[in-house]
């Protein structure tokens, strides 16, 4: 406060009590960095699962091999007719032949005899949202017509993706709760210490008729200010790291490797995921202000 303004407003009730606590700001900064990164990761995981799971779940891939005198192409044509009669099938397209189809068909469970010397063909089948037939039922229909076929519902892809989202969200919620608890505890400790430091002055102010809010306000402002600085810088640093992961391939590769090692899959980040960071600073400020206010009020009750 400028000297002129101070003279105009009169003496401060609790000089310096509203100045942000540096150590609280530093502690909140470190916690905010973690919390903001976790929020970005959780948002990316949810977005990836939400975007890809329905798309993958709405299609199946059918591998059809030739058998006896029937070529793979002829078997694929027959399979197309069978699939077209199945309930809920929207479209069927025979994919162009590719050398990797043999390996893909084997991975899908098509036996070696069906793929040997007669490259299988892959059919992409999409469903309408209603009356969708299961992959197992489709496979039964095809085998009933003596076709060597395997049907993949992409569960091998959607499973880890959905698991990753669940793990990321659970980890984010857990970590956020821990961080919120720590911010509360730190802000409460800082406010308690600040009141204790000024106990004589606070006691005098109570005697002079100051209300609880008049005394609590600066301590609340002190914690909120420190939290705003710490959370702003911490969340900003997390956003900078996430930005690097989005726009720098080297950083992205490194992060992908770390995340994949931890939870089995790594959703790629998107610029929109950075918006999640903006949630944290107001939460941190609110938590710190509430904790400091409650603690300062409790100290006043003990004094008064």
């Amino acid at each position: 406060m400028s000297p002129a303004r101070a003279a105009r407003n009169g003496p401060s009730l609790l000089p310096g009590a509203a100045s942000p606590s540096p150590w609280l700001a530093l502690a909140v900064l470190l916690l905010s960095f973690l919390a903001a990164l976790e929020l970005v990761a959780a948002t990316a995981a949810i977005r990836a699962a939400a975007a890809w799971s329905p798309r993958l779940a709405g299609t199946v891939t059918v591998a059809v091999g030739g058998g006896g005198l029937e070529s793979a192409e002829a078997a694929a044509a027959r399979a197309t007719e069978i699939l077209a009669r199945a309930p809920g099938v929207a479209s069927i397209s025979v994919l162009d032949p590719d050398p990797a189809d043999v390996a893909a068909a084997r991975m899908m469970g098509l036996s070696g005899t069906a793929t040997a010397g007669n490259p299988p063909r892959l059919l992409a089948t999409t469903f309408t949202d209603r009356e969708r037939i299961s992959a197992a039922a489709l496979a039964r229909d095809l085998r009933r017509e003596h076709l060597a076929a395997a049907v993949d519902d992409h569960g091998v892809w959607t499973g880890p993706m959905e698991r990753t989202a669940v793990v990321a969200v659970a980890a984010a919620v857990g970590l956020l709760l821990v961080v919120i608890t720590l911010v509360w505890a730190l802000a409460a400790a800082a406010a308690g210490g600040a009141v204790r430091q000024r106990e004589e002055r606070v006691n005098l102010l109570l005697h002079l008729g100051a209300t609880d809010p008049m005394i609590v306000r600066p301590f609340r402002a002190r914690a909120a200010g420190a939290a705003a600085i710490g959370a702003g810088v911490g969340a900003g640093a997390a956003a900078a790291l996430a930005s690097a992961a989005i726009w720098s391939p080297t950083v992205a590769d490194w992060i992908n490797a770390q995340v994949t090692a931890q939870i089995g899959a790594s959703p790629s980040l998107d610029a929109w995921d950075l918006a999640a960071v903006a949630i944290w600073p107001p939460v941190a400020v609110l938590v710190a202000a509430l904790a400091a206010g409650a603690t300062a009020k409790a100290r006043l009750r003990a004094l008064a």
Binding site: G10, P11, L13, E200, L204, L206, G209, A210, D212, A304
Partner: protein, 228 residues
């Protein structure tokens, strides 16, 4: 040392119309210091505009009693009524309203040495929720009344003992309290100011170990006899 005694105003002479007792002690006993010692139970009525002197030796619980009346601590036994309200029934959040009706001159004065005389008094006005526009004029008047106009911008630490006493009185009266509590007031100037205040109708409760002062004051005197 010559001193002007506090002149207690006869209740019928008081300019303010009589109202409910300002302070009423009903067998109130207080905890002395931080230990388990309890002061003797005390009953007294302090009517508006009157003065009452409580006298006792050191450690008898005078300060504890005044602090209890000033809502700094709860009574251990009995009841205390302030402005017709039983303190036991006053919510903690509502205590400030009663405190604003009380001016306190502490035994150790509790001035803030780093602040100027003017700001020490202004602090009391601010704590009572008044804006500078509201208290600027009364502040100048009260500093003039206690004789500190010339020293208004001096830090409290630069004032001598008498000046600090005058400043403590100024701070206690800036909010025009209905009750003035003085714990061991001393010095001719301070006693003269208290006498003038009482003559003007301010209700006053004074604690002193000085039996002569109590005798000369003309006020009702209660002696605290330490509990065995």
């Amino acid at each position: 040392m010559s001193r002007k005694p506090i002149k207690a105003v006869n209740k019928s002479e008081a300019s303010a119309p009589p109202e409910a007792d300002v302070v009423r002690l009903l067998g109130a006993a207080v905890r002395i210091g931080a230990g388990r010692r309890t002061g003797p139970p005390l009953s007294l009525d302090l009517e508006a505009g009157s003065a009452h002197v409580i006298t006792a030796g050191p450690g008898a619980g005078k300060t504890a009693l005044l602090e209890t009346i000033a809502l700094a601590r709860p009574p251990l036994k009995g009841a205390i009524e302030l402005f017709g309200k039983n303190l036991a029934r006053v919510r903690p959040a509502a205590r400030h309203a009663l405190r604003r009706r009380i001016g306190v001159i502490f035994q150790d004065l509790r001035l803030i040495d780093a602040l100027s005389a003017r700001d020490n008094v202004a602090l009391a006005a601010r704590a009572a929720g008044r804006s500078p526009e509201e208290y600027d004029k009364p502040l100048v008047e009260v500093l003039a009344w206690v004789g500190l106009t010339r020293l208004a911008d001096e830090p409290a630490s630069h004032l001598d003992g008498e000046g600090r006493g005058r400043l403590a009185v100024a701070r206690a009266v800036i909010n025009r309290p209905d009750l003035l509590i003085a714990d061991e007031p001393s010095g001719e100037a301070v006693l003269k100011l208290l006498s003038d205040l009482n003559e003007a109708g301010t209700t006053m409760l004074i604690a002193t170990r000085d039996a002569d002062l109590a005798e000369q004051s003309g006020a009702e005197v209660t002696s605290l006899v330490p509990a065995p």
